[in-house]
Subunit: 479 residues, 2 copies
Amino acid sequence: MSHYAEFLSAAADCLGSKGFTRDADVMEPWLTDWRGRFTGKALGMASPASVEEVSAFVRLCADYDIPIVPQGGNSGMSGGATPDRSGKAIILSLRRMNAITRFDEQAREVTCQAGVILQTLHEAAEEKQLRFPLTLGGKGSATIGGLISTNAGGTQVLRHGSMRAQVLGLQAVLADGSVFDTLTPLKKDNRGFDLKQLLIGSEGTLGIVTAATLRLIPAVADRAVLWAGVASILDARKLFLHANKVAGEALEGFEVLPRHSLEAVLDYAPEARAPLQDNHEWHCLIELTADAATAERLQDLAMNLLETAFEEGLVEDATIAANETQAEDFWAIREDISPAERAIGPAVQHDISVPVSKMAAFVAEAVPLVEKRYPGTVGVAFGHLGDGNVHYHVLAPQGAEPGAWERTKGKEISAFVYKLVTDWGGSISAEHGIGQLKIHELDHLADPVSLKMMRAVKQALDPEQHLNPGKLVWLADKG
Amino acid sequence: MSHYAEFLSAAADCLGSKGFTRDADVMEPWLTDWRGRFTGKALGMASPASVEEVSAFVRLCADYDIPIVPQGGNSGMSGGATPDRSGKAIILSLRRMNAITRFDEQAREVTCQAGVILQTLHEAAEEKQLRFPLTLGGKGSATIGGLISTNAGGTQVLRHGSMRAQVLGLQAVLADGSVFDTLTPLKKDNRGFDLKQLLIGSEGTLGIVTAATLRLIPAVADRAVLWAGVASILDARKLFLHANKVAGEALEGFEVLPRHSLEAVLDYAPEARAPLQDNHEWHCLIELTADAATAERLQDLAMNLLETAFEEGLVEDATIAANETQAEDFWAIREDISPAERAIGPAVQHDISVPVSKMAAFVAEAVPLVEKRYPGTVGVAFGHLGDGNVHYHVLAPQGAEPGAWERTKGKEISAFVYKLVTDWGGSISAEHGIGQLKIHELDHLADPVSLKMMRAVKQALDPEQHLNPGKLVWLADKG
């Protein structure tokens, strides 16, 4: 038997018929990332049912020198879960491992296998009057393992932090099949290096996340959603600082969008209504929340925030959502920006960050440079002002050919944007990760010391490059 | 010139007379850790004045194969900053680098060089109505660099997290002299591995912390300090859960102490007064705090907590400090426990943690096992119930010989305690780190997978073992 035939036979033995397939139809949906940017081939798809099976299978792959591409919900933004075109790698799907194995209401902890879907976790927490404080658009498909491997963000990072901050304990299978297990969390533990955080956000290149213990917080007992119109992004920044001061820890979200984005949504979504009557250059969507212990004063706090903002001349106009329906409507506008802007025509998108205190200045100063340099383009920046995280779309000039424009001019514009953001001390990936989408850019633009450290760590923990090769970081000799 | 003579001459050239000494009197205080457990020798002591000097000096040490022991305030608890007895290592003191280089009130960020003393940072923050939310007994000597390298804890971890959670950006010199620099913090940055967290808590074995950007929070506008007597540690746990529920994010500290510790303090500190009239087996010290945004309701919240705790039969007796003086007095009792227990006679101390939900059971069940196995000893457990962190002292039987008892019987007892805590899924070092004090224990008791990962990472980033050798983790071939 050939090397591959031997491996395939051993893989089928290891995982059984439910756990291993080479059926082209079954594999097909998992060979392309959901945005359709990357399509690869795979030698097969493994779907182990337990950490023991993952461990045995990874050991088998190590023995046969077979690369592994771990995959959760396949809803990542950077092609991190899509195999390359060689067809030599195995997709390792964690989707069958979808049990919530422990729920400790009193300690506010939940232990999930990697394949648990975010929405499922939200619902399980809500049933117990608790809440998992991270959410994002892909919650119906994104899995806990994928969210951890990409250190996912979302709209609640301002107050609650990204995925990194939610993980109390972790279980992962390393390149040699051994199992790193800290699922029983210790709040304080100073026994050396923070291996848990090293694995989180490593995009499956250092280990395959198989389970995690996550923190929960008390359910939201009340919320207030405000919409404000301001004259400039710099005024939005002032309003943010004011909100931070007045609302303190109740401030859960602070999103900004330009006039262009609001108008795009109003065109795109027939049911969308403008929250304010007049036109404003910039809009702020602000959410305050409270749990049962602090709910009593939340509406007063929101009113106070609004009144003082008017008094201090920080807003042109503003309103508080009158009820939950209106609150949902406000948020729907924010969530529709991406599809609405995309519906206008070809564009290149950038998920970038700069130091929080510089974001307003970056949008005001740096973004127009792009429009000037590439005449006819329109720059639209929106997102998480409180996190310094800008979703920055550059729309193609009218008449540009979809597909072709992105591949040529769009690529050039992105390179310019990434250079610009790096010069501002920012990041070319605020929340979407590197994957295969930005591995070239990271290789060129990353701080050489950080890159050298990453390569050394990758070399130390996965010397044969079996774990998600071609993602995030190359070793020096393959770069 | 000999190898060493050449190195010493180059070192003096590199750092100048202020920056390099071999004077025995000058070095003497820095060769013994402050608890007097470890004394070493050094080839010399370097005191660079800038990150450039640290970098150049580390490169020089690499060239001459000279090991480096980084040192801050020399107030660590595990001998992590004390050189070994070979006299071949250089102490690298960061104390001259003691400037606060940037203070951004609006962004609530401060950038400090490694040698800034914690107390100095507290005062700088207070001047601007802000607060650095980590404090501990050694604040008058502990430096930011040392606190970061040991991931220091303290009494505010419950709400604000350990040092790890305070560091927004980091600068460190690596083994080859290159400078890792993320001092300009990005709230969101998904460009690969979390190198910052890898360096934090690595006890100078992966890099030498030279500066950091730290988060600040609004100053405390009001606080309420409560003292409660309860019948058992299990009741203390119930009260903790209740306090958590009622006070939510206002709950900043929850400490427990047994009757033995209170009585020891009353004997030891002439000015100490018992907060409650009757005797109780266990005592809880609870602190609620609020910033300006939430101060208005804090005293009501504290009163509500107290009343409902009485109603639900959670306390035998309880009181709220009537004023700041009384609040300070309550905390003084907590802070005097260690010296008071030490004054009784020989003892071995353990800084251990178990899962938060198991701490009460551990103290109730596991701790008496030690007294039973070692007749005449008295076990005293106190500390951070909300963090699962127990300071666990075992007092020698009456008449035991100081010094000799700790070295013989005490050592045996500690081994038993560490085995016990490991069996409970806990940590042999909750907040004090490993250093040279527990390197043997970690080598024996750590999860083999974690240990293997740590060795691989150490090998990758400091292959010649120049950075703080003999601390935290040995490489396999030296262990």
